[in-house]
């Protein structure tokens, strides 16, 4: 009997993909000087708080406070050591990881190399069902931990040298291994987390013990909040605030109302509904910063309607990206004309070349010459707030190509993927990508390689695969980037997907905090944030 109201509700455009939750009590974001102040940050209910099982933004935001990564990324998004002293390899295959001395877990345990090995083995062991399982696939012996009854419980590639040193042997050379270590799957876990070797305590997730700048205050209060406080024995850069409350919201609009009323300090994502009013509501407390998300239009390249690169290029040239980012996204996203995100080392502008430029006359000529289909369908998931831009795109295609074009909504992204996998004709479809670590390989591999985990469109070019492989096996970063860029040039020729937009963090904060910085992963930098005095 609630069906009608429910339908109306789900029709509302909601900005984030998942991650819903409840709320927090009226705890105040503080203002009592810098040393002992408290701030509150909006999150959704995290799915998990175990490092190897956390893949969404909300959980990642919390554990980024509780743990300290081996490497972090500098302004150029190159990795630098944090919890590691050094990460070196002579052949990019056997990596030696030396830890900094002085790190302790919040329960007092000293951090040793064994803690890393235990945590990684736990994550890679398939029966544990960890979301980040695949992050370990490059380590030698990973395959033995897969399947229903794995042969081994520990990866043969991980070897302890001494208390602060261990080696990770990869199954093949991988130049970007050091960069991947910044991801939260590679955090260590203390002995106290395990009830027996390889068996995680159920209670660990409710109050994770890490070695980061903040420690848990109490336990995870589901749907409500997660409180953390400064860990004074942390040897790295000290946070400027004492307490952080991660307040759980189900709806961004509710959190937005709280920021306006100074009831919540940081809202990492301004809801789409409020984008047009937010700059005037918040003034200079409305901010943007780079982020890695990449939205594109994919084509079933196995479908003869779209199998010609010229058809795809013509469609690309018929889309006025700047108009859509301006009118639909109010400048909260930027036009994309390359196949990887601008935040990456090795990114070049306009790699799509002429195909990325808006040119309706050329587009129409090319489209007719290539014999494109008389009707273009763009499928999208109806629950992600995509209707507006798809409608705008469809209208542009109608006007510029002189064809019939419609948007077609699937209820959820999973439904769309199921249809694509079954090769049901869905026409072109929207896709998005957010990187796990800043390397070009993290885009080229999963999105465009023949066996890429997210290559739902059947694109396959042996030459491209070869170049990406050579890039990741290269000796130096420069050499790797050169190979990756050559691979990207092939994409420009084949145009398997049409780049549409790059995302930005669009965030706001209350008048009680200052120096709010967001990283490429949509996380607030907890060490830099300060209370406004």
């Amino acid at each position: 009997m609630r069906v009608r109201r429910l339908a109306a509700w789900t029709a509302l455009p909601l900005a984030v993909t998942l991650g819903l939750a409840a709320c927090g009590s009226g705890g105040d974001g503080g203002s009592s000087g810098s040393g002992n102040s408290a701030v509150s940050i909006q999150i959704g209910e995290p799915k998990h708080l175990v490092p190897t099982n956390t893949t969404e933004t909300s959980g990642s935001q919390v554990i980024a406070g509780l743990f300290s990564p081996l490497v972090d990324y500098d302004a150029q998004n190159k990795p630098y050591e944090v919890a590691a002293q050094s990460i070196t390899s002579s052949d990019n295959k056997v990596w030696t990881i030396k830890l900094k001395d002085g790190f302790t877990f919040h329960n007092g345990e000293k951090v040793t190399s064994q803690n890393y090995i235990n945590a990684w083995n736990y994550g890679a062991y398939a029966p544990n069902g960890q979301d980040s399982n695949y992050f370990f696939e490059k380590i030698a012996g990973y395959a033995d931990l897969q399947g229903k009854a794995p042969k081994a419980k520990e990866m043969s590639g991980l070897k302890k040298v001494d208390d602060l040193t261990f080696t990770a042997t990869l199954s093949e050379p991988y130049i970007d291994f050091k960069t991947t270590l910044g991801y939260n799957a590679f955090y260590p876990m203390p002995d106290a987390a395990f009830s027996a070797p390889g068996v995680l305590k159920d209670s660990y997730e409710q109050a994770p013990i890490g070695q980061g700048p903040f420690k848990m205050k109490g336990t995870w209060q589901h749907d409500s909040k997660i409180d953390v406080e400064r860990y004074d024995a942390y040897p790295g850069e000290k946070p400027k605030v004492k307490d952080v409350e991660f307040r759980i919201y189900q709806q961004l609009t509710a959190a937005y109302a709280d920021v306006l009323a100074d009831n919540l300090d940081v809202l990492p994502t301004i809801p789409t509904e409020s984008l047009s009013t937010a700059p005037s509501d918040l003034g200079d407390r409305y901010q943007t910063s780079p982020m890695s998300s990449f939205q594109f239009l994919a084509f079933p390249t196995f479908d003869k309607d779209y199998s010609s690169p010229d058809v795809r290029k013509a469609i690309s040239m018929a889309i006025d990206r700047d108009e859509i980012t301006k009118s639909v996204f109010k400048g909260s996203q930027t036009s994309a004309r390359s196949f990887v995100s601008p935040v990456l080392p090795g990114y070049r502008e306009n790699t799509a070349g002429k195909a990325g430029e808006f040119n309706p006359t050329e587009a129409k000529k090319l489209y007719q010459a290539a014999g494109g289909p008389s009707k273009i369908v763009i499928s999208y998931n109806g629950d992600g707030g995509h209707k507006d831009w798809v409608d705008a795109t469809v209208n542009q295609l109608k006007a510029n190509l002189g064809v019939d074009a419609v948007g077609s909504a699937e209820p959820k992204f999973a439904d769309l993927l199921t249809k694509v996998e079954k090769k049901t004709p869905v026409g072109a479809f929207r896709m998005g990508w957010v990187m796990d670590y800043p390397t070009m390989e993290d885009y080229l591999g999963p999105l465009y390689s023949t066996n890429g985990s997210s290559n739902y469109y059947g694109y396959s070019n042996p030459e491209f695969d070869k170049l990406v492989k050579e890039g990741s096996a290269a000796k130096t970063q420069d050499e790797a980037i050169a190979k990756y860029q050559q691979a990207e040039d092939i994409l420009a020729k084949d145009m398997p997907v049409i780049p549409l937009r790059f995302g930005e963090n669009v965030f706001g904060h209350s008048s009680k905090v200052k120096n709010v910085q967001m990283d490429l992963f949509q996380r607030v930098n907890l060490v830099k944030i300060e209370a406004a005095s």
Partner: protein, 312 residues
């Protein structure tokens, strides 16, 4: 009376199993790929897929698989175990946290509806066609016409953000004051309906024979209205409010979302959005019980209000 309640309770058992079966079937029939839904827009690794498939018996397909899972579920349910949501949390725990706050919210809403709706309805019924009657008519039509999805954000923006009379959101362990605004918003729809019902019923009963008799006996007006008219007029209102209590408990999806109250509607909404079948079925099973019990209470209340009604 006792036998009547016993019979109703037995019927409830049947109704409970029937509805859970239907809800269970519908939830899982409408599901695309729960594992992909759980992962959001990320690719799912074969290891992860195998793990979840086995954990939730998703490998048993077809009708046999459905009944296998349903009986498995009912077996656990009878042992008081509602199972685990797809994110691995105990649904019993989720409900234990969600119910108190939803019940408080529903009671505030119901109190608002009763106090303002019924009393304004009585006044409007007595003074038909007066300014009060006409203005409440316009106001209630307005409230009935504005859906909660508009009313709730408006109330939040003006009363919470702009004029700061109420906290804009409530929170998990909210004070009475923080729940007041959502309660009023939630109750406003029931308030309007209760007002219209009471008004019509009072107006009709005022013309009844027994009222004329009472008046000619020389009873004071207040006694006639409160003891005679109101008691008889409340029957349709009680029916409505009883059903509405069930609605309020389950139907606060919008209000709980807007005001960030982690109650039942809030969790139900999340369950639906993330295709968390076990969570949806768990919550709905409990809601079924709430509806059944509130309907029983309503039926028993009839007898209290109108002694002519007897249950055998």
């Amino acid at each position: 009376m006792f036998r009547y309640i016993l019979r109703r309770l037995l019927q409830m058992v049947l109704a409970f199993f029937g509805t859970t079966l239907i809800v269970y079937a519908l939830t899982f029939a409408g599901q695309g790929d729960p594992i992909q839904a759980l992962a959001g827009e990320r690719p799912v690794t074969p290891a992860q897929r195998a793990y979840l498939t086995e954990k939730y018996n998703l490998d048993q397909t077809g009708v046999g698989g459905f009944f296998y899972r349903y009986f498995d579920y009912v077996k656990d349910l009878l042992q008081g175990n509602l199972g685990e949501s797809l994110t691995g949390r105990s649904i019993g725990d989720i409900l234990q946290q969600a119910w108190p706050v939803t019940v408080r919210l529903a009671l505030i809403a119901l109190a608002v509806a009763i106090i303002f709706g019924v009393s304004a309805g009585v006044i409007a019924g007595i003074r038909r066609a007066s300014i009060f009657d006409n203005s409440t008519l316009v106001l209630t039509l307005l409230v009935l016409g504005i859906p909660t999805i508009v009313l709730a954000p408006l109330a939040q923006y003006f009363l919470g953000v702009k004029w700061q009379l109420f906290p804009p959101t409530a929170g998990s362990d909210p004070t009475f004051y923080a729940l007041l605004l959502p309660g009023i918003v939630l109750g406003s729809l029931s308030l309007a309906t209760a007002l219209r019902l009471t008004r019509a019923s009072v107006a009709e009963n005022l013309r009844a024979d027994y009222v004329r008799t009472a008046r000619s006996k020389g009873l004071v007006k207040r006694r006639i209205v409160i003891v005679h008219v109101l008691r008889n007029s409340l029957i349709p209102v009680v029916t409505f409010l009883g059903v509405e209590l069930g609605n309020l408990m389950s139907g606060a999806i919008i209000t709980e979302g807007v005001f960030n109250i982690p109650g039942v509607g809030f969790n139900l909404f999340r369950g639906i959005r993330t295709e968390d079948g076990p969570l949806v079925v768990g919550i709905v099973s409990v809601l079924v019980v709430v509806y059944l019990v509130s309907n029983l209470v309503v039926d028993v209340l009839y007898a209290v209000l109108d002694p002519r009604i007897r249950y055998e």
